[in-house]
């Protein structure tokens, strides 16, 4: 018995040591929620087609983050990765506007203001054609957003507005629609 207890002490000790080493790691990366969201975003690109003929299906894609969100850091981690199917070019919302197409992730708040009260959102909204807008607040589809994240239990789900997608000149594949909650 004594013998066995001694052996048991080993894994406990090992865990304790690991725990002691842990906190240094903890703060370095974007929160799990945003790393999963970033992974979703790069997967979405496989299932969204831009009706604009200038855009090739596997060329680099410009992507911008608007508002107060750790999303930029999470996407940054993906940009340099050769494993990502489509090259992501992180850029500012202004650059995107000039370019005319791409992906914008819109945080729930921008400079501390609710998203839809901030002028940047309105600017974006005006030239929504060619831009895949992805958001995270409950009213996102109402103001024309294409894909919206929401929490269900401990998982992330997403909804797609077909009307907004068509309006933005995007064609969303049936596979993505199958997994999404469809709004209007």
């Amino acid at each position: 018995m004594r013998h066995r207890l001694a052996i048991l002490a080993l894994p406990v000790l090992a865990m304790t040591l690991l725990v002691a080493a842990a906190p240094a790691q903890a703060g370095d990366e974007a929160p799990r929620e945003y790393r999963v969201k970033a992974a979703f975003v790069q997967r979405f690109l496989e299932f969204v087609a831009w009706t604009n003929e200038h855009i090739t299906p596997d060329g680099p894609m410009r992507i911008g983050v608007v508002g107060d969100s750790p999303m930029e850091a999470a996407l940054q981690d993906l940009t340099g990765d050769p494993g990502v199917g489509r090259e992501l070019l992180l850029c500012s919302a202004d650059e995107l506007a000039e370019n005319g197409y791409g992906v914008v992730y819109v945080a729930a708040t921008i400079d501390g203001l609710p998203r839809n009260e901030h002028p940047v959102w309105n600017d974006l909204h005006d030239l929504s054609s060619g831009i895949l807008t992805i958001g995270e607040d409950p009213g996102f589809h109402l103001s024309g957003g294409v894909i919206n994240f929401f929490a269900q239990g401990d998982r992330l789900r997403f909804s797609v507005s077909e009307r907004a997608a068509t309006g933005a000149g995007l064609k969303i594949s049936s596979k993505l629609m199958r997994l999404a909650l469809i709004v209007d």
């Binding site: 066995r4 207890l5 052996i7 048991l8 080993l10 894994p11 406990v12 090992a14 865990m15 690991l18 725990v19 080493a21 842990a22 906190p23 790691q25 903890a26 990366e29 974007a30 929160p31 799990r32 929620e33 790393r35 999963v36 970033a38 992974a39 979703f40 790069q42 997967r43 299932f47 981690d77 993906l78 990765d81 494993g83 990502v84 929490a151 239990g153 401990d154 998982r155 992330l156 789900r157 596979k175 993505l176 199958r178 997994l179 909650l181 469809i182």
Partner: protein
């Protein structure tokens, strides 16, 4: 053996250290497919149970991710990880499971539900754990320690285990899962479903498990083991605000249940159940849930069920019909829930020498109604919940079960809650109608010239509900997003607790053969106090690494208040361990490889002479292709085997050794 243990531990440590050094797993998620991303548990443990964490109760949730990670083959194995829950495997097929004391194969102070349908047996108010639901079907298992009788049904005395299955939306496509190993010799599970948002979605599934017999303490083959088959089909309709579901589930178990029982007045007076036992059931259920926004909605479920149990020791046919309806509404500071339920059980007995009944069949019904109001006194800071349930039925007395709970959140990181509740365990058929012959005593065994004697436990129609006043206090703290602690303490006071009367001897001169009847029967002659607590720690130092640990304490003080109660025959709380500790460690190495270890210590079971033990399970999972995962598990690695439980006090059973065993598996999702 020692070297093997050591090498496993060393391998674990090496891998863990290796991943500390090289584990930049920021790339992990993007290798997952969309379907897999939808299955990733995103929010931390305190947040993951958002609706549950707002409940002022001791709650623990086993997620689909935990089930996948640890490869639990059935629900009781998964419950081993939960604080306050004691799981003892009796043999290959049977388990004893309880929360906060009073464990037994027929433990009766627990409410177990699958999707809101209670699965306790009308016979003994307990659960036959060998009948179940395939693990791959389960979305989560919510375990609530302490009484929840206000909102949940009868028997929610010591706790509630709520098994919630996945919706068809969550399981679009196909799955084949095959496992092979030593104790669980084979397990094959297949599922296929199609989800549509504009029409009926469906899923069909089936699972077959074959279990080898365990051995006795002396190494003898106990002729146990058997197979468990389950199959089902489900239809779901999704409306704008509603989900409707129709489901049919069938179960068929066949195997050796290792009962020792008397079957005649002839020598050798005791028989070992070598014949095969069979349990079959078919259940049909229709449920609809409608939610108008978050503020208002209702749930309705109707189910019908037929069970056939054919065992050497006893047989029974049970038909059950149940209906439950509830409505919830939020207005201003009030969140109100009310509803009612009805249950009807029709039972036909197939009596044997060992288990006879006073009637050929019986019909029992129960009606309940409940109301609860959660009042927000200070938004986000203080909530008071007041509720009550009223129960009335053909077997029980009139039951009033009030509950008062308070939850105080002085700071976003700290939550304190307290609860006082009364709860009842209503009498079951076993308490009232059944006559069990425990033993036939050979002539001469009680003294010179003593006749053959028959020891019986006889049902008592005057038996009333067992009652509990439960006092609980809890505290949750999440100082940083990657660390959470959950503490709960309880003081339970049971009254009218089941006891056994002192035996009465009656000479049966006219019976064939003439014998001495020694009869005891149930009475409400005991009282007890149990107290203790649980601590659960959850640490996620990094996204690829999670550590969880729990500790559970149980103490009891019991006394017999009726002078006719027999001390020696008394059921005891301490058929559960005083101390239990568990440590779970989960590691991801990249997106493809997962490694999980579970260590547990279970204290001795004083009342039934089972020794303390500690064990280690190890599970390794490797996603070879996007849709193909292989896994391997080693269970009970710290010894050749150990005994976890002796036998129920009513039906004797051979002591089994739960051996060290291994399992390999293959899972294909398409």
């Amino acid at each position: 053996m020692l070297t093997m243990r050591l090498s496993i531990i060393m391998a674990m440590m090496t891998l863990a250290v290796a991943s500390v050094t090289f584990g930049q797993d920021t790339q992990a998620f993007h290798e997952l497919s969309l379907e897999e991303l939808l299955d990733v548990q995103v929010f931390s443990s305190a947040k993951q149970s958002v609706p549950m964490s707002e409940v002022p109760a001791a709650v623990y949730v086993i997620t689909a991710d935990d089930i996948r990670r640890f490869g639990f083959p059935n629900v009781p194995e998964a419950l081993r990880t939960v604080p306050g829950v004691n799981v003892a495997r009796i043999d290959a097929l049977s388990y004893a499971v309880t929360i906060r004391g009073y464990n037994g194969r027929f433990s009766n102070k627990l409410l177990v539900m699958i999707d809101g349908r209670s699965i306790y047996s009308a016979l003994f108010s307990g659960v036959l754990w060998d009948v179940g639901v395939p693990m791959a079907e389960i979305d989560r298992i919510e375990v609530i320690r302490g009484p929840g009788s206000t909102l949940w049904g009868a028997n929610a005395v010591n706790g509630i285990i709520n098994i919630i299955t996945k919706t068809v939306r969550d399981t679009d496509g196909g799955l084949v899962d095959v496992q092979m190993g030593r104790l669980l010799e084979a397990s094959v599970m297949a599922r296929y479903g199609e989800y549509k948002d504009d029409g009926p979605s469906f899923r069909v599934y089936g699972q077959f498990q074959q279990l080898a017999s365990t051995e006795g303490l002396d190494g003898a083959d106990l002729n146990g083991g058997g197979d468990i088959g389950v199959g089902g089909a489900r239809l779901e309709w999704y409306g704008e605000e509603s989900v409707s579901r129709f489901e049919v589930i069938g179960n068929h178990n066949r195997g050796g249940y290792l009962d020792l029982y008397p079957d005649s007045f002839e020598p050798p007076y005791v028989k070992e159940a070598t014949e095969t036992s069979e349990i079959e059931s078919v259940a049909m259920m229709y449920a609809v849930e409608k939610n108008k926004s978050d503020h208002s909605g209702f749930k309705l479920s109707i189910h019908a069920e037929a069970n056939r149990m054919d065992q050497p020791i006893f047989g029974v046919n049970i038909r059950r019909f149940g209906l439950d309806w509830s409505r919830h509404l939020k207005t201003g500071r009030h969140a109100v829930v009310w509803g009612c339920g009805y249950k009807l059980d029709e039972i036909d007995y197939l009596p044997t020498f060992a288990v006879a009944t006073t009637t050929e069949s019986s019909q029992n019904w129960r009606l309940d109604t409940f109301f609860q109001d959660a009042l927000t006194v200070l938004p986000k800071r203080l909530t008071l919940t007041l509720g009550a349930k009223i129960e009335y039925g053909s077997l029980g007395d009139f039951g009033f079960q009030p509950n008062l709970r308070a939850m105080w959140t002085p700071h976003d990181q700290h939550t304190v809650w307290a609860s006082v509740a009364r709860s009842l365990r209503s009498p079951c058929v076993l308490n009232v109608d059944v006559e069990i012959t425990n033993r036939v005593i050979p002539p001469g065994a009680l003294g010179p010239q003593s006749p053959t004697a028959r020891l019986r436990l006889v049902g008592n129609p005057d038996f009333v509900s067992e009652k509990l006043w439960a006092n609980e206090l809890g505290y949750r703290h999440m100082p940083v997003p990657w660390f959470a602690v959950d503490v709960a303490a309880y003081y339970n006071r049971y009254d009218d607790l089941s006891s056994m009367k002192k035996p009465i001897m009656t000479p049966m001169y006219l019976a064939t053969p003439p014998h001495l009847a020694i009869d005891t029967s149930f009475s409400n002659g005991a009282e007890s106090e149990t107290w203790g607590g649980e601590v659960a720690l959850d640490l996620r130092p990094s996204s690829w690494w999670r550590l969880r640990s729990t500790y559970s304490l149980l103490r009891a003080k019991e006394e017999l208040v009726n002078t006719d109660a027999d001390e020696r025959l008394q059921m005891r709380a301490m058929t559960s361990p005083e101390h239990q500790i568990s440590v779970l460690a989960s590691f991801d190495i990249g997106a493809a490889v997962g490694m999980d270890a579970a260590w547990r210590y279970v204290d001795k079971l004083e009342r039934i002479d089972a020794s303390a033990y500690s064990e280690l399970d190890f599970h390794l999972r490797w996603r070879v292709l996007a849709d193909l995962t292989v896994s391997a598990a080693g269970l009970n690695l710290l010894g050749e085997g150990h005994n976890e439980y002796h036998s129920d006090e009513i039906i004797a059973r051979r002591r089994s050794v739960i051996p060290r065993h291994f399992r390999t598996g293959l899972r294909w999702e398409f």
